[in-house]
Structure formats: structure tokens, C-alpha cells
């Protein structure tokens, strides 16, 4: 299957169209991701931000064919990666793509590392698996990789086991394994959520450097708005399985158009100001099983109009390169200076 031609001559590395993921439930299919479009250009960092249950992890797993089989998920839509369509690949072909062209960094490094083997050998194994070993030097390459993820004293560390390393170090090892295949796209699923704040800062630094030096594209999934603001070029905001807003980082944070985005930004307690009370979003996100007519955010939206409750809004352009799924998007805020 070939990808549709692209207008500007600049082909996206990843072009996801209409991706939907649903799980079997008692009364039919439960939608967890609905009609998502994601486009990542080479060398771009795109963040997907949303709260738990919004479907962002399922999206990432679906792209890599990693949804657990026993869950019986149904995946529809198309995902073009450098010309090839991912979702229709057979498992063997998918395995070749995974690690080689697209690598994943999961949230929990302990789950990704084998506790029985030293980390050095796990990196070597990744190098060998992707046929990147030049000559008979996988050992040396592994040490280089560990050095490139800024692991101090790679020689010693390579001999250690995962449980002997701190969380931050483990996440770096996972990063090294991910980079072993020389991928073009890195999908990072909340990699810093379990890390300390100072360790997180260093890790994001590392990712930014890797991204710049290798022209890596990153799909960064997180619930942390600060991380998105630091690392990403563009942001997609997800709510209840749908994309509700997409914009460049500077546009989104300076002038959010969707009510949810703005409420989210307002509810973060400031560091350098005293506040009496925080702005909150009343209620809780809808459960995937619930069938609501109209906009899924309407029950919690300060601007709930009748139309919002009756008809679900569609994604509409909201600026040069932004989209927003709202009947009454917020007006653009003009930035000073």
C-alpha cells in the first residue's frame, strides 16, 4: 500500500489517518481511541498530552502492534510510515519495523529490562537483533551507546543488573536499547513520569540532544504540560479518545483555543506566585463505556451551550497550523512582543 502524495514535497515520516481502537465490552465495542490523525515530519517532536484514560497509550501501542492479544482490540484506520502501511503488516514484518525504524520507550523501565541479564548484554542483544553490528564489535558499540545516553562509567555499568541501577539510569539504558537499531521515530510513552524531577530534566536534555544530532522524530506521550512545553515542537491534546486540539507549542500555551486545554493550563499551581484557590475542572473524564451525545467535554465545560450537548463538534482549523474540536473555540489571544 502506498501513501497518498503530499502537497508540499515534504513527506511526513509518520502519517496516521483515522486511527480508532476499540475493546470488546459487554454490550458491543468500547471505543478507546477515535478517529485520530497524527502527522510527524522528519526531525519533529510531537507531544500527545492528556489525562489517564484518554487513550494516548492505546494509540501508541496500536501503532506498534503491541496491544495485548488477550484484550481482543479492534484497530481501524491507516498509519503510513515512510510509505509503508503499518496496521496491515503481518507480525513478522512488524517485528522488523519495530526497533529498527520505530523504537518505543515505555513508562516502566523495569518492565522493559530483563532482570536476569546485565544491561550491557541487553544492549548488545539489541544491536545484534537489528543487524547493526559492524565487524565483531557489538560490545564496543554497546559501550558507545551507553555513553551516548550519558550513562556515567559505561564499562562498569554495562556489567550491572537492572535492579542495581537507579530509575534514571535504567531509563537511559532503555533509551540506549531503543537507539540500538538506529530508528527514525521514537515513541516515548510517559518515560519520565516515574522519574525524579531533576533526573527528568537531565533525561529530557538528553532526548533533545539525541533528537538534534540524529534528526530523530519523537512522538512523546505524557500528561505533564511542563514536559511538553520543554521538549515538543507541536502538541496534540487528547480527551476521551479524541483529538480536541492541535497546535505548535508556542501557539498552544500562549493561546489555547479549546476550553479543556485552557482549563488544564489554569489548574496547574504556579511556582512563583501565591494562590488562594486553583481553577478546577468540575467532575471527572467520561468513562469509555458511556455513550454521550454531543461534545464529550460539554458536561464539564464552563461554556456548555445547547448545541454542544446535542451535536459532537468536528475538528476545524483554528489558525495557521492549528485545529480545534469545538463549536465555540476560545478567541485567539494576541501575544505581546
Amino acid at each position: 500500500m502506498t501513501a497518498p502524495p503530499h502537497a508540499k514535497g515534504h513527506e511526513p515520516l509518520l502519517d496516521v489517518r483515522g486511527l480508532s481502537v476499540a475493546f470488546p465490552g459487554r454490550q458491543g465495542w468500547i471505543p478507546v481511541v477515535e478517529d485520530m490523525d497524527v502527522r510527524i515530519m522528519p526531525g519533529e517532536v510531537v507531544g500527545i498530552v492528556g489525562e489517564s484514560g484518554c487513550g494516548k497509550s492505546s494509540l501508541a501501542l496500536a501503532l506498534l502492534g503491541l496491544l495485548p492479544r488477550w484484550a481482543g482490540a479492534r484497530v481501524t484506520g491507516q498509519a503510513f510510515f515512510d510509505g509503508a502501511e503499518l496496521l496491515s503488516l503481518d507480525p513478522k514484518a512488524m517485528r522488523r519495523v519495530r526497533g529498527d525504524r520505530i523504537a518505543m520507550i515505555p513508562q516502566d523501565p523495569m518492565g522493559a529490562l530483563n532482570p536476569l541479564f546485565a544491561v550491557g548484554s541487553q544492549v548488545e542483544e539489541a544491536i545484534l537483533a537489528h543487524g547493526r553490528a559492524n565487524g565483531a564489535q557489538p560490545r564496543k558499540q554497546a559501550l558507545e551507546l551507553l555513553g551516548s545516553v550519558r550513562l556515567d562509567d559505561p564499562e562498569t555499568r554495562a556489567r550491572q543488573y537492572p535492579h542495581e541501577l537507579s530509575g534514571g539510569m535504567r531509563q537511559r539504558v532503555v533509551g540506549a536499547i531503543a537507539m540500538a537499531g538506529g530508528p527514525d521515530l521514537l515513541i516515548a510513552d510517559e518515560p519520565t513520569t516515574a522519574l525524579d524531577v531533576t533526573v527528568q530534566a537531565q533525561y529530557l536534555d538528553l532526548l533533545r540532544d539525541l533528537q538534534r544530532s540524529r534528526g530523530l522524530s519523537i512522538l512523546f506521550i505524557t500528561h505533564d504540560l511542563g514536559v511538553v512545553a520543554t521538549l515538543c515542537d507541536r502538541v496534540i491534546v487528547m480527551y476521551a479518545g479524541r483529538k480536541v486540539e492541535e497546535a505548535s507549542v508556542s501557539d498552544l500555551f500562549a493561546s489555547p483555543r479549546h476550553w479543556y486545554t485552557r482549563a488544564l493550563l489554569d489548574s496547574v499551581p504556579p511556582l512563583l506566585e501565591d494562590r488562594d484557590e486553583l481553577a478546577t475542572i468540575p467532575g471527572t473524564p467520561p468513562r469509555p463505556e458511556s455513550t454521550l451525545a454531543g461534545c464529550r467535554f460539554a458536561p464539564r465545560c464552563p461554556n456548555g451551550a445547547a448545541k454542544c450537548r446535542e451535536e459532537e463538534p468536528v475538528l476545524a482549523a483554528a489558525g495557521e497550523s492549528s485545529v480545534c474540536r469545538c463549536w465555540f473555540p476560545l478567541p485567539e489571544r494576541h501575544r505581546d512582543g
Binding site: 500562549a254 489548574s267 499551581p269 504556579p270 484557590e277 478546577t280
Partner: protein, 278 residues
């Protein structure tokens, strides 16, 4: 805010045996989880303890809750050292000092109804009729913005944020003078976090109860606390009023922590992309 010191740690040290083994035998030395810490909480005061994982803050919390004994130093409750507390005083301590823990999944017994969970402090102390207990449980649940009827349901029916509210209700039911909260919002989503922080602040203000907030997040501590202590490697490295401390930190670790906090603002964030590596 009176000047009565409710709970105090005086030069507290907690050592754990070194878990590393060398050739099958335990390696020498111990881990100093808490290294000569002194900390006082006055009546009605909101104290913050901020630090990253492994700095000893949770261990300190357990010591101050008298759930573990310090290796050296003492915990004082209303002036009396812990080892010298009479049974009556200890019972009073258990009534007056209540914890709220981080992980809502593990901090509620999955096999008990919410009502029994929330009323446990009252039932453990005895001396109340069933009707009294039911009434107090209903009051506690409503104080945390849940319904009295939720008492009959099981924890699994509730979301993470609601479970944390249940844990808070449980801490409030015995009308304590001091609540120790260990990372009360860390595992919550951003929007739920704001709701719970508002709730905690309103409880602190209205019940005039002293609070010890333990967190790794500076902005949480800024929002909730009158005074903050920064902890690193078992020691308190700096203390002060958040407004002043965050504006001009004295200790390099505090600076590192402050720099590592990522605000949801791109321009600002880019300026601080390279924090000093400790």
C-alpha cells in the same frame, strides 16, 4: 496559629542495614535514610517537606507517625518523648495525628466497604455507638465532597481521585490536630490534582488543623504550606517561607530543584533547559 509545638523530631537518625552483599555476607556500613533531622510542627501550622525519591522524607514521615523507631534521636509529642508516652497519651496521639498516604490503590483495603474504611479510627478507639459512628462517617464523606451513601460501596467502584478523598475522610474523622500527608496528589491527573489541592487547603483553613505535606513537587508545597523544608540525602538542607525561598534559594540543591520544575510555558522553559547537574 499558636506556638504550641505538637510534634517534633529532635536530631533524628534512622539507619538501615546496607542491603548490598559481598560474597554472600552483608557489606559493612548502613544507609542513613534520615541523617540528624530536626523538625517541629506547631498547632495550626502548615509545614512542607520537599525532596526527591530516596531523600528520606517518607521515612521521616513514618518516624513522626510513630510507625517506626528512630535509631538515634527522639520524636516528641506535645513535649513528651515517644518512649515515655503512657498508654493514654499514646491513644491520644493516635487520635490526634492521622496520615494520608500516596497510593490510593494500596491505601484502602479492597475488601472493606468505604464506610468501614473511613470509620476505622473511631471503631479502633471504641466508646461510640453505631449510630454515632454512622453519623460521623457521613459527615466525613460529605466534607470531602462525596456522598453519605458512598459508605456502602467498595473502593474499586471509585476513581483514583475519589479514593484519595476517601483516604482524607478517613484521616479527618477522628478530628485530628495534625494530618501527615505523604505525596497526596502525585499519582493524580492534573485536573483532579487541582480539586484535591483546593480541598486540602480548605480543610486546613476551616478545621485549623496542622499539616505536614510531603511532596517532591515544589508548586504543591508553594500552594499549601506556610513553611517549607528541603530535604536531600537524609538531611534538611534549607528551610524557609516558600515565597522567599523560591525567589532566592541559598542552597545549590534547592536551586537545582527549582530549575528542574518545568512550567507549562514554552518561552520560559527554553531559558532553563540546562539545569546545573548536581
Amino acid at each position: 496559629m499558636g506556638n504550641v509545638v505538637l510534634l517534633e523530631a529532635a536530631n533524628v537518625v534512622k539507619l538501615f542495614p546496607n542491603p548490598r552483599r559481598h560474597l554472600g555476607r552483608r557489606a559493612a556500613g548502613s544507609i542513613r535514610a534520615v541523617d540528624d533531622v530536626s523538625l517541629a510542627i506547631e498547632e495550626g501550622q502548615s509545614v512542607g517537606l520537599v525532596g526527591e525519591s530516596g531523600c528520606g522524607k517518607s521515612t521521616l514521615a513514618r518516624l513522626m507517625l510513630l510507625l517506626a523507631k528512630p535509631t538515634h534521636g527522639q520524636i516528641h509529642y506535645r513535649g513528651t518523648p515517644a518512649f515515655a508516652l503512657t498508654r493514654r497519651q499514646l491513644a491520644e496521639f493516635r487520635r490526634e495525628v492521622q496520615p494520608v498516604f500516596q497510593d490510593p490503590l494500596q491505601s484502602l483495603n479492597p475488601k472493606m466497604t468505604v464506610g468501614r474504611i473511613v470509620s476505622e479510627p473511631l471503631r479502633a478507639q471504641g466508646g461510640m455507638t453505631h449510630a454515632e459512628i454512622r453519623r460521623r462517617t457521613a459527615d466525613a464523606l460529605e466534607r470531602v465532597e462525596l456522598h453519605a451513601t458512598d459508605a456502602n460501596r467498595m473502593p474499586i467502584d471509585f476513581s483514583g481521585g475519589q479514593r484519595q478523598r476517601i483516604a482524607i475522610a478517613r484521616a479527618l474523622i477522628s478530628r485530628p490536630r495534625l494530618i501527615v500527608l505523604d505525596e497526596p496528589v502525585s499519582s493524580q491527573d492534573v485536573s483532579i490534582r487541582a480539586q484535591i489541592l483546593n480541598l486540602l487547603k480548605s480543610i486546613y483553613r476551616e478545621e485549623k488543623v496542622a499539616c505536614l505535606f510531603i511532596s517532591h513537587d515544589l508548586s504543591t508545597v508553594r500552594f499549601l504550606c506556610d513553611v517549607v523544608h528541603v530535604m536531600h540525602a537524609g538531611k534538611i538542607v534549607e528551610s524557609g517561607v516558600p515565597r522567599e525561598l523560591f525567589a532566592s534559594p541559598a542552597h545549590p540543591y534547592t536551586t537545582t530543584l527549582l530549575n528542574a520544575w518545568l512550567p507549562p510555558e514554552p518561552a520560559h522553559a527554553r531559558r532553563r533547559l540546562r539545569p546545573p547537574i548536581l
